[in-house]
């Protein structure tokens, strides 16, 4: 593994720069506190008894544990269905994204063809298109198609948003399966399709699962398109945005916590692939 240039200073063994290392640890702890404190506080707010919202100043340590706020949020009118819809949109997004993305990723990994560079350039630059700008024309389109305010419409757009990443991840996953394996399978009598199904896919499951997870998380978190494309059938974030102005603080805090906690699980499984997905260093 390569190590950073600047970090050599930090990598210098202990006895040379003890105070420097202490400073580094101090900084690391500071950043960690900045990251975790808000999570602690939102959990504190969400699990406090409802009337504690009105206590002031709030105690910064838990005084009592109550599930009332969470319960209130989850049973609030429309939240349950919105949660189910979010899951449905996410699942549909994953299915479309993988179904279209894996063949494209395979093409990038295994073939040389003219226009390949252009295709890759396009995939990378899609990230620069603002969601804000595409949502209005799509809204018009879906109105025409009678798909406005449906799970399908949101999932279609989410699939398009996640496709570039799915393609790039699956391409890197397929690249890691040596083409010799595939050729060996073919030399033993199976077709290329058979080789892909029997040799490449079984060896790619963990990587593709990560691509699926990325697609799901993107869909789960996407707010703007979901808000614009739905009205009576919003996804969970869209429902929250709809209710924001009218809802009590306890509702918003419980909602905030419910949207935050899954991130810890997601990132735990996505960690090995973070650099693939968000990195720009390697080609």
């Amino acid at each position: 593994m390569s190590t950073a240039v600047a970090t050599r200073a930090a990598a210098v063994p202990g006895r040379r720069v003890e105070p420097g290392r202490l400073l580094l640890y101090g900084c690391a702890v500071l950043v960690t506190l900045f990251m975790l404190t808000p999570v602690y506080l939102i959990a504190l707010a969400a699990f406090s008894p409802p009337q504690a919202i009105f206590d002031y100043p709030h105690p910064l340590v838990p005084v009592g544990l109550s599930l009332e706020n969470i319960q209130f949020f989850l049973t609030y009118q429309g939240i349950g269905p919105a949660l189910l819809r979010s899951l449905a949109v996410g699942a549909l997004t994953v299915v479309i994204s993988l179904a279209l993305g894996c063949p494209a990723g395979y093409a990038l990994a295994r073939y040389w063809f003219s226009g390949k560079d252009l295709a890759q350039l396009m995939l990378v630059n899609v990230r620069a298109i603002p969601m804000v700008i595409i949502s209005i024309p799509l809204l018009v389109t879906f109105l025409e198609w009678n798909l406005y305010d449906t799970v399908a419409s949101v999932a279609l757009v989410h699939a398009a948003i996640t496709l570039p990443l799915t393609i790039l991840i699956s391409a890197s996953v397929f690249l890691r399966v040596p083409s010799e394996l595939e050729e060996a399978a073919m030399s033993l009598g199976t077709s290329r399709v058979g080789a892909v199904l029997r040799v490449v896919l079984p060896n790619s499951v963990p990587g593709l699962a990560t691509a699926a997870l990325f697609a799901f998380v993107t869909s789960w978190n996407e707010v703007f398109v979901a808000v614009i494309l739905t009205l009576r059938g919003p996804t969970l974030p869209a429902a929250l945005v709809q209710q924001l102005a009218a809802s009590p603080l306890a509702f918003r805090f419980a909602g905030g916590l419910c949207l935050t906690i899954p991130a810890f699980v997601f990132i735990f499984f996505m960690r090995p692939y973070l650099f693939n997905a968000f990195g720009v260093g390697g080609k």
Partner: protein, 303 residues
């Protein structure tokens, strides 16, 4: 990327078999569905937005939408706020994220844990971030509670009052930075990891201390990474939406929230599209600015 042996299209077609031609077409057939899908749902509507913005509701070409855009009550405010947030968030984020990336790269004990905690906001939505920080910044929130308990203030500060611009900006900057600094860190880390370790050692043995190794070697070599990161992050920062909405309601109008208000609240898609086109224009300008100012001299990374 390494690829399998390139199919020699020309030679194959001389032999002429239909099967060979199909094989030459295979990669295109594999790519086509995905690319067409992306084109239809992303590129096409991006173009379509221009159509909507430059047409009346009945389909006539016009500039009227932009004239009403400029007259929109919150137009000036939303432009100013968008730029204000951008001007604070981007430098702060990149400076801190650079530090975090360097920290994460140094062989600290517990590096895995630090990296995990520092990257979990990658999976948090802007809406969630807004709500999380709402619990801190409301007038009876945790920040005021802490300040009051320490007797630093007598009465709660109305951070999120509609007339408290510094308070509103502070809240949005904190929440948005908290949410998106992980992304910037990961981007920078991937760039740092691509720098060979022996460059740092070469500089070290030539007498460069830690700070000069950072400024003379790491940062210059990170320039392409920073360029891409800045373009990516600035584009998304122009679209800052749910954080603002969750924290300030309509107290701090920005371009994206105005777009949503016109589309969702007023059902005036022409005005919404005009705002969206303006957004695209501004972020394209920013991208071009980064491309020209952060250009790497020819020959540095390729022959």
């Amino acid at each position: 990327m390494t690829a399998a042996a390139p199919p020699h299209v020309g030679r194959r077609s001389i032999r002429g078999g239909g099967k060979a031609r199909l094989r030459a077409l295979t990669p295109y057939l594999l790519m086509a569905p995905a690319l067409l899908f992306i084109a239809y749902f992303l590129f096409w509507p991006a173009l379509g937005a221009f159509g909507v913005a430059f047409q009346t509701a009945s389909g006539q070409w016009t500039l009227a939408n932009f004239q009403s855009l400029v007259r929109d009550t919150d137009f000036g405010l939303s432009v100013r706020n968008t730029f204000l947030l951008l001007a604070i968030i981007i430098p702060v984020e990149f400076a801190v994220a650079l530090g975090m990336a360097v920290l994460a790269q140094s062989r600290l004990r517990g590096r895995g844990f630090f990296l995990y905690v520092w990257s979990f906001p990658l999976a948090i939505s802007d809406l969630a971030a807004g709500l999380v920080w709402l619990s801190i910044f409301t007038s009876h929130g945790y920040l005021n509670s802490a300040l009051q308990s320490l007797h630093l203030i007598q009465h709660p500060i109305g951070f999120l009052n509609y007339d408290n611009l510094p308070g509103l900006v502070l809240a949005v900057v904190a929440a948005e930075t908290w949410r998106s600094i992980s992304l910037v860190m990961v981007v920078i880390m991937s760039g740092i990891q691509a720098i060979p370790a022996d460059l740092g050692e070469a500089a070290e043995i030539l007498g460069a201390g830690a700070w000069r190794r950072f400024t003379k070697v790491t940062v210059p070599l990170l320039k392409p990474t920073l360029q891409v990161g800045l373009m990516l992050r600035t584009t998304t920062a122009f679209q800052v939406f749910a954080v603002v909405l969750a924290l300030t309601g309509s107290g701090l109008p920005v371009l994206a929230t105005r777009t949503e208000t016109w589309a969702y609240g007023a059902r005036n898609y022409q005005m919404a599209a005009a705002y969206a086109v303006l957004l695209l224009l501004l972020s394209s300008l920013a991208t071009m600015a980064y491309l020209t100012t952060l250009r790497t001299p020819r020959g540095v990374f390729q022959r």
